[in-house]
């Protein structure tokens, strides 16, 4: 009996000790960000966060979700700052009073990728034409389906092509997952998908520069992909660390950080092009 008690207490003690370092976290200044999956999947934030901490002493923690969910997290006051890429949804968010201090920071572009065999024959075509061909041939298209910035863009492209929003069709699969995960699914299913160029380059790197899915449509007007940061409005959310958020915005739009973003390359290609004004 005593041994049982002793063992139990030893266990409790060990468990408590295991927990101790946790309390250490709370004292450090932490800025919590909700961001799109592309900034996380590409490793951009892994690259920037240590520099930010070095320059300001603030630890950046981020949850990588789609832009839609990031905006929702901001509305619920669960994060301090957003880094997202869906300009019209962002403006709605700011105009609704949920966010302040929106600044554009960088861009890249969206591309349509697909299998080398290109079963729908979309290579080099315009976006409208390409989507039309995919739909007519019924070749599988992997959509993020998660209300992310890329998903919003994709839906707007279907609409702009006059094709309506696909749903519940055999060839249209909605993954509900992040960008890189969706590319992986597209690869497994020999499907087309829309991605930002940054994540695609990361995917190329993961496949040692020789990926099964290649870029088929690019360089069209309307494929620009603008990223911005937005501070969560402290008037609506008194608990947010607005001061840290402002510091981050100032830091990421500074010449020095903008240069860092421009220097973030893989396979000799820039993943994001800084354009803070």
């Amino acid at each position: 009996m005593q041994k049982l008690c002793a063992a139990f207490f030893l266990f409790l003690l060990a468990a408590t000790l295991a927990l101790l370092p946790v309390t250490g976290y709370a004292e450090e200044p932490v800025l919590r960000m909700a961001t799109t999956t592309s900034t996380d999947n590409t490793g951009l934030l892994d690259y920037l966060a240590p520099v930010f901490q070095h320059d300001t002493g603030i630890e950046l923690q981020w949850v990588a979700v789609g832009t839609g969910k990031a905006l929702a997290l901001g509305k619920n006051c669960d994060v301090d700052i957003l880094m997202v890429h869906a300009p019209s949804a962002e403006l709605k968010f700011v105009n609704g009073g949920y966010g302040t201090d929106r600044r554009e920071i960088m861009y890249n572009d969206f591309v349509i990728i697909g299998p080398r065999s290109d079963p729908a024959g979309i290579k080099g075509k315009s976006v409208d034409d390409a989507l039309n061909r995919i739909l007519k041939k019924g070749v599988i298209f992997a959509s993020r389906g998660d209300d992310s910035g890329t998903n919003k863009k994709e839906i707007s492209l279907w609409e702009a092509a006059g094709l309506g929003i696909p749903d519940r069709q055999n060839w249209y699969i909605q993954t509900g997952q992040g960008m890189l995960a969706t590319i992986t699914i597209a690869e497994e299913r020999d499907a087309y998908t829309l991605t930002d160029r940054g994540t695609y380059i990361k995917y190329e790197v993961n496949n040692s520069g020789d990926p099964p899915l290649i870029i088929l449509v690019e360089g069209n007007e309307g494929l620009k992909n603008q990223y911005s940061v937005i501070a969560v409005n402290q008037e609506k959310c008194p608990s947010v660390r607005y001061g840290y958020a402002l510091k981050f915005i100032e830091w990421i739009t500074s010449d020095k950080t903008q240069k860092l973003i421009g220097n973030f390359t893989m396979l000799g290609k820039k993943l994001f092009i800084p354009n803070a004004r």
């Binding site: 009996m1 468990a15 949850v63 993961n206 608990s239």
Partner: protein, 229 residues
């Protein structure tokens, strides 16, 4: 096929070289599961004992409810706790979303039914002659109860093992409440889910190996405890 072998090779390398990202996920997992198992045992053993030892009206119904909760889906717990602890929710002021204690609380809710149900079953399955024997030996009510708990210790240990196994291996709660934040709330299971989705298997395999190893070590320690007590 090579990439599987490659995954295993990289996995061993990550573990042997002490890759900080891998170990961060391992320690986060240990912290969270220790927190939740501790809380679940402290709350669950007394409740399970009460449920198994005493006779009272509605006992059967409560037992049925607890047994049903054994099948509690992790995502339902995740959703429920998320709504409660989001800044907009009733417990929002505590700032628990995307923190280790937040995941700990949700996991505690998840595994509490296991501790209660298995403890109750162990206590109520004691030989019917047990209570009479102890009473005739001159034990008081309190002493009898304590002895009953002691006599059902193997069942309680089994409850702890099952509960710990569920806590350490679940992914739904950790993903929803923790947000898979690198260096902070990324656990073994969320990292595996993430890395597999990104098509990078090495870290996933490394963490999978560690998870199995942890399960083995915990069971081994409990086996020793069983023999000693």
């Amino acid at each position: 096929m090579e990439y599987i072998a490659e995954g295993f090779a990289t996995a061993i390398k990550l573990l042997v070289r002490g890759d900080p990202e891998t170990y961060s996920a391992i320690f986060t997992t240990l912290r969270i599961s220790s927190l939740s198992i501790m809380a679940a045992l402290v709350i669950g053993i007394p409740l399970g004992f009460l449920l198994g030892y005493y006779q009272f009206p509605g006992k059967r119904q409560i037992h049925a409810v607890v047994d049903t909760l054994l099948a509690l889906p992790t995502v339902v717990v995740g959703l429920f706790v998320y709504v409660l602890i989001s800044r907009r929710g009733p417990l929002g002021s505590l700032g628990l979303l995307f923190t280790i204690p937040g995941i700990g609380i949700a996991q505690t809710i998840l595994i509490l039914p296991i501790v209660i149900a298995l403890t109750a079953t162990a206590v109520s399955n004691l030989d019917v002659r047990f209570r009479r024997t102890v009473l005739t030996l001159g034990a008081g009510k309190k002493r009898t109860a304590v002895t009953a708990l002691y006599e059902s210790r193997y069942g309680v240990i089994a409850a702890a093992v099952a509960a710990y196994g569920r806590a350490i291996g679940e992914v739904g709660v950790s993903m929803m409440i923790g947000g898979n934040i690198k260096w902070h709330t990324r656990t073994i299971t969320t990292a595996i889910a993430l890395e597999t989705g990104k098509g990078q298997f090495a870290m996933g395999i490394a963490l999978g190996l560690v998870l199995l190893l942890l399960a083995f070590v915990v069971n081994w320690i409990l086996q020793i405890m069983k023999r000693k007590i």
